[in-house]
Symmetry: C2
Subunit: 279 residues, 2 copies
């Protein structure tokens, strides 16, 4: 495992936002991630919240716009933000659309050429990145996961597919049922091929029925979100949880859209949710 | 006075961030501003904090990165963010450098052609914009002012030149003594000409000695700020306030840089400072 190379270090609420570049085995190239280390990390090990960002984002959006550092500094919580796709390749069409390829890795392991060479964001987020974090920073091995939109989908599938790995899970406006929405269908066809059977293991609504662990899911969803009915489908997640008796706290937030202003408005509740589980 | 045209409306911490475009008489063209209306504004009038942004910014940076809406929603404080220069002209070189012309209006009234035609950001911020805000939104006529870097300079000069107009003033890493630093000299020469006598009325350190009102100034300054010694000169502000017995709360924040992460870390203290004066 190569040593992460420090790119920048910025003080925030008494702690530090640090950006690193490292050589990733999963995606066979360089990856950048950001970590927020709260003040407590100077004297003891702290638990980690992994944050998965949405389409078009990278490691920086959450750190710049969520305001999460304020409460994380009080709770003694590290936050790790990976990038949203590999960046080192240049496949035909990879950089042409906002919802496929660059910045749209969908947190799965691609099986279709040429993406199967490098688009292994699931392995990266679930296995490799936690190893890098736990080997190089003053953190415990306790972790939770959250994310937004495509990253909300990512957080849900990572938790559902890995019972016991995460202490808690939450999501903002997740793509809940990607096998049934345009964003998901485009991504899954491109990364996994046209046999829709292979899509099922990457869809939170379908994974709920097989979940070995009934980890409670906290979801915030704005009711003025432009992508609500066509792409996000919170109703499908509610139905799947209801049918399978899976604990879900689905909060429909009146008047809120899909932006980071929505995330910032409710991030404190998510941090409290995770800190409680991680303590 | 033309009616501001609503560009967008985004819910944030129970209130609303609204962006407007309007025809400005001061700058003889269209200007965009943002206003945060806290939840209290739905039932009563609220006081206003004007925030002046720094070089390269527009009305959006503070709203996206400061996290100020969280506490403003609790305190019942509206926040107004103007743009940092006129945008409608296309003078030779106007858009070529980050520290002069577009996004670098320096909150003064230019006297040198061609900038004297439109670069009247001082009149805009001090007179026109408050009229627009007070005529169109549920706000009281009580106002305070703050800002960052070039906008910190703007906040200081607006308050010092207008005794009684603002209930309180604060700044993050202000350009305290622009007649003596490269950013200020370049801007003042371009907007005001080479007679340095004309620069004096736009320099906070020089205005302190003439201040009719001893309004306490709150300043946060990071000691890891790259621009500290060459451009910002907090020592000059401390000396001017000391010599003239002007109340100054200068806080040197260890390890903080010039970024919005620094602003976010201490914005709550500034909001409390202003809310107390405005109540």
């Amino acid at each position: 495992m190569s040593q992460p190379e420090l790119l920048s270090s910025t003080k925030s609420y008494g702690g530090w936002i640090k950006r690193y570049r490292h050589q990733s085995e999963s995606v066979k190239g360089e990856m950048i991630f950001a970590i927020y280390l709260p003040p407590q990390a100077e004297t003891s090990k702290v638990p980690v919240l992994y944050w998965l960002s949405g389409l078009t984002c990278n490691d920086e959006n959450f750190m710049q716009k969520s305001g999460a550092q304020r409460l994380a500094a009080k709770l003694g919580l590290a936050i790790v933000c990976p990038d949203t796709s590999p960046r080192g390749s240049d496949y035909p069409g990879e950089h042409e659309s906002y919802d496929f390829g660059s910045a749209a890795g969908f947190y799965l392991n691609a099986t279709q050429a040429p993406y199967d060479q490098t688009y292994h964001m699931y392995d990266y987020v679930v296995s490799e990145l936690p190893q890098v974090i736990e080997s190089n920073f003053p953190v415990t091995d306790k972790k939770s996961i959250s994310g937004h939109s495509m990253g909300g989908h990512g957080a849900l599938i990572c938790a559902l597919k890995n019972p016991g790995a995460y202490q808690s899970v939450s999501a903002f406006a997740p793509i809940s049922n990607p096998t049934q929405c345009p964003w998901g269908k485009k991504a899954f066809a491109g990364y996994l091929g046209h046999d829709e059977k292979t899509w099922e293991e990457w869809d939170a609504c379908l994974l709920i029925s097989q979940a070995e662990e009934k980890l409670a899911i906290l979801v915030d969803q704005g009711d003025a979100d432009n992508f609500l009915a066509e792409q996000l489908k919170p109703d499908a997640l509610e139905l799947a949880c209801d049918v399978n008796n899976h604990p879900l706290m689905m909060r429909h937030q009146v008047g809120y859209d899909h932006s980071y202003f929505f995330i910032a408005s409710f991030i404190d509740d998510h941090l409290e949710h995770h800190a409680k589980a991680l303590s």
